[in-house]
């Protein structure tokens, strides 16, 4: 029996469910219901409604709260009872009616096993079983509650769309499709998680995607053996590069327009049911510094903003460590006036520079975390109180010096320019504080070299994440730090697959399908 196209699992292994699920449906409704109750363990949310129609014993199955009651009444129950069926309809005649005459939903399919039955029912389909038939009929009448489309929380923009993904997979898919009305955009559905059976959708442009990359992603998804997948973060590690690093080789975005832009560059997108974020692959390091607004602003302004982001990244990672290293080991580097000011501010502080910066960083992280987890109005209050405590009261109390407050404040603000790197930034910052505190600039240089080497070793689906800087690929430079104008960008549209090392020497400066 053919499965609906959106549940076709040619590329994926079907999850092995509870025992008995693989069993075929039988022609006896009673027997089917007994097995059904055995498998489901009599779960209370499974609604089983038996009824008779034209001499046939029918049974309707659905999960409570996942089917749209109005649609069910209008498009299924009413038409079914109004159908021109004779009083003593045979099961075969009913099967023929269901197969050839009835359209209760666009997504309407015959099912033949309990595994399929549970798959559909748990996804919000209504399933009709008929005594005398070893097949059932699944109808897509989903109507569960989900959060409506809202503004993005982490990727704000000034111009352009204000839509962000929601938790409902189908809604997310439709948001992408609305922006890319081409048959070249392919969406493949599947499930992951042995028991959560979380739906996911692979998105890619058939004209741009690299088949080896796509197969690798499918293979990795198929190899995931997790019991439950509740969030894209569960899957992300399985798609990462094998070498451990602070920097992820999988991109995330909560904006459908950003996802579309990445798909247009030959990347593969992955939407996970229940997650308002999409994953993108391959993901290059330079992408952390790109924002959707960059493409709406004039090139000179976009370039300036990107430079600011790179500078902010360096500042937020290195400034506290550098301050500690210089204050402790390399005072000769500072001009006398600045040295005098710092010495005056720090002379009454009871802690060493390293301890001081660690204390204030810790306080900042606590305040930030509290602000994030609390309800928004309370969170704001916590942030204000925290800022006051850290900024003013602590200086007056002589716990920390004013220059240190400035350093940490600048560091904290700079981190928000590259929000996707926040975790890496926080950890690297701490590492550099320790390195600077214990070994001075020597320690900082050593740690930076090691972190740098680790970053340059990273590959995302076979593409070094540091390309087009290294390996050098001038083809990719026009959208790295400098963002060239749209006329030039559209003339030579970027395809991330052309940044592979083997291709970087012979970059095809035209995309596939573009005329010579």
């Amino acid at each position: 029996m053919k499965m609906p196209y959106f549940y076709a699992r040619d590329a994926y292994q079907p999850p092995s469910g509870p025992e008995g699920e693989a069993q075929r449906l039988t022609a006896s409704l009673n027997e089917n219901l007994i097995i059904l109750r055995q498998i489901s363990g009599g779960s209370d949310d499974l609604i089983v409604r038996e009824f008779e129609l034209c001499g046939l014993r029918l049974c309707l199955l659905q999960i409570e709260g996942m089917v749209d009651s109005l649609a069910m009444a209008d498009f299924f129950i009413r038409p079914l009872f109004a159908a021109a069926l004779s009083n003593n309809t045979t099961p075969d005649a009913f099967a023929d009616y269901m197969r050839n005459q009835a359209i209760f939903a666009i997504d309407q399919q015959e099912i033949g096993s309990f595994s399929e039955l549970f798959s559909f029912v748990m996804s919000g389909f209504a399933v009709l079983l008929c005594d005398g038939l070893s097949t059932g009929y699944a109808m897509g009448l989903q109507g569960f509650a989900y959060r409506s489309v809202a503004e993005p929380l982490g990727e704000f923009n000034v111009r352009g769309s204000r839509e962000s993904f929601t938790e409902a997979l189908r809604v997310n898919m439709s948001m992408v499709r609305r922006r890319m009305k081409t048959p070249l955009l392919k969406m493949e559905l599947g499930t992951v998680g042995e028991n959560s059976r979380t739906g996911f959708c692979l998105l890619y442009r058939t004209d741009k995607v690299d088949s080896a990359t796509l197969n690798q992603i499918k293979h990795r998804l198929g190899a995931i053996r997790l019991d439950t997948v509740l969030e894209s973060g569960y899957i992300q590690p399985f798609l990462e590069n094998a070498k451990a690093s602070f920097f992820s080789t999988v991109g995330t975005t909560e904006r459908p327009d950003t996802l579309c832009a990445k798909l247009a560059e030959g990347r593969v997108g992955l939407l996970i049911d229940g997650t308002p974020f999409a994953l993108t692959l391959p993901h290059l390091f330079g992408e952390y510094f790109q924002g959707f607004d960059d493409y709406a602003h004039p090139p000179y302004y976009a370039t300036m903003i990107r430079l600011l982001r790179y500078l902010a990244f360096l500042l937020t990672v290195m400034l506290p460590g550098l301050y500690v290293a210089i204050a402790r080991y390399h005072l000769e580097l500072l001009p006398p006036a600045l040295l005098y000011n710092i010495a005056t501010a720090e002379e009454n502080i009871p802690f060493s520079a390293m301890l001081e910066v660690l204390i204030i960083t810790l306080i900042y992280e606590v305040v930030r975390e509290a602000g994030l987890r609390m309800p928004q109005p309370v969170g704001m209050a916590v942030s204000i109180v925290g800022a006051l405590v850290v900024g003013d009261a602590a200086v007056k109390a002589g716990i920390i010096g004013a220059p240190m407050v400035m350093v940490v404040a600048l560091t904290a603000v700079s981190a928000f320019l590259v929000p996707a790197l926040y975790q890496a930034i926080t950890f690297l910052r701490l590492l550099l504080i320790f390195a600077g505190g214990f070994f001075g600039l020597f320690g900082i240089t050593a740690v930076l070299l090691m972190v740098g080497c680790n970053l340059f070793a990273r590959e995302s689906m076979g593409i070094p994440v540091t390309t087009p800087v290294a390996p050098i690929a001038p083809y990719g430079w026009r959208d790295l730090i400098v963002r060239v104008g749209w006329p030039k960008l559209s003339r030579e549209q970027l395809n991330v697959q052309h940044l592979r090392q083997e291709e970087s020497d012979t970059i095809p400066h035209k995309t596939e399908g573009q005329e010579e």
């Binding site: 000769e332 500072l334 240089t445 050098i472």
Partner: protein, 359 residues
């Protein structure tokens, strides 16, 4: 030296240009290759041309024999002699690695942190060298792109900072000190090109062959070395002989507003160059060990090689007699000549004469 690694031409160029700077940055007065005389300006140039010739000879032999690397070339003469040659090559490279770690420790404990223990710096150095090799030569070469850009910026800043204090009159004829001084300068500069063997080993990994990139390395290395020499001669002049690390002193003399001193840039540059060069030689030593030892025993060859080099460097830092003899050995140029010229030439010629080559 993994065949699966692929390195771009630019990355290869950047990696070896940086590694080549080691000679100029670790210059410690009379003991090693002089860079603070006008004779050295011509000496370095001639040495680079000689090194280019030697490199061409070795790679030419490798190609003529139909092999890919000098080690493969040596094995054409038979397994025992191939193993002997590999052991010698690896041994010489090991000595260079010890020299790098020793210089690293000596610089930091004598100039930057005089009160610190040398052991810590050796430990750091070994840790970073192992880490670099675990990350792979491809990662190292990619990182070199950015580091080379940093080097260029640093040199621009320092040159600009020294411009006002430079005395061009210090630049005199390179022949002033006589032909023997010139020949000595050429020889000393030439034996500083110990990275040629690693370059020849890595050529097959370079996309497009890498010969053009290798030419670029010679060109860029000589430009940077000459620039540093000119700065040392014109800014420090005869005073450079009184400095333990003249190039460090040169950076300290650069007049920049904020920060007031840029000798920390020298420190960062020195560290980077030492670690890159050390990592390259560690990779070669590891390759030699993996070639010589059975698979099971070669499993920890990387760590073992690095640790042994660290212990040797520590011993050098503890014994003045050992250190002076080691420095004399390295300055004699014997390991470099053996590694980059004598072994490949002897084994290559033997292989070609005996007709034991695939082509």
């Amino acid at each position: 030296m993994d065949k699966g690694i692929r390195i771009g031409q630019v990355e290869f160029f950047a990696l070896f240009t940086l590694a080549r700077l080691f000679g100029s940055l670790t210059y410690v007065g009379e003991g090693s290759m002089p860079i603070d005389t006008s004779t050295a300006l011509l000496g370095q140039l001639c040495a680079a041309l000689l090194a280019w010739g030697a490199f061409g000879l070795v790679t030419g032999l490798v190609r003529l024999a139909g092999t890919q690397t000098p080690v493969q070339l040596c094995f054409l003469t038979g397994k025992p002699s191939g193993r002997a040659a590999t052991a010698l090559l690896g041994g010489c490279s090991f000595l260079v690695m010890v020299q790098v770690i020793n210089s690293f420790e000596r610089y930091f404990t004598s100039t930057v942190y005089p009160e610190a223990s040398g052991f810590i710096f050796i430990l750091w150095c070994i840790a970073v060298l192992i880490f670099f090799n675990v990350m792979g030569l491809d990662a190292l070469s990619r990182m070199s792109n950015l580091l080379l850009l940093g080097l260029v910026l640093v040199l621009i800043v320092v040159t600009a900072g020294l411009w006002s204090v430079a005395e061009p009159v210090e630049l005199i004829s390179p022949f002033y000190e006589g032909p023997m001084a010139l020949l000595s300068s050429i020889y000393r500069s030439f034996v500083d090109w110990g990275d040629l063997i690693v370059m020849a080993m890595m050529l097959p990994m370079v996309g497009g062959g890498g010969r053009r990139a290798a030419r670029g390395v010679f060109g860029a290395a000589i430009v940077v070395a000459e620039l540093i020499s000119v700065l040392v001669i014109t800014v420090l002049g005869g005073a450079s002989r009184m400095q333990l690390y003249p190039v460090h002193a040169l950076f300290s003399a650069a007049d920049i507003w904020v920060p007031t001193r840029v000798d920390f840039l020298f420190m960062m540059l020195f560290m980077t160059v030492c670690l890159l060069k050390g990592a390259l030689h560690l990779a070669f030593v590891d390759h030699a060990l993996k070639t010589l030892l059975p698979v099971g025993r070669a499993q920890h060859s990387l760590g073992a090689a690095a640790l042994t080099a660290g212990v040797a460097a520590f011993a050098l830092s503890r014994s003045h007699w050992l250190a002076s003899n080691f420095i004399a050995l390295m300055n004699s140029g014997a390991p470099m000549l053996l590694m980059t010229l004598i072994i490949p030439l002897l084994w290559g010629t033997a292989a070609l004469l005996s007709g034991r080559h695939p082509s």
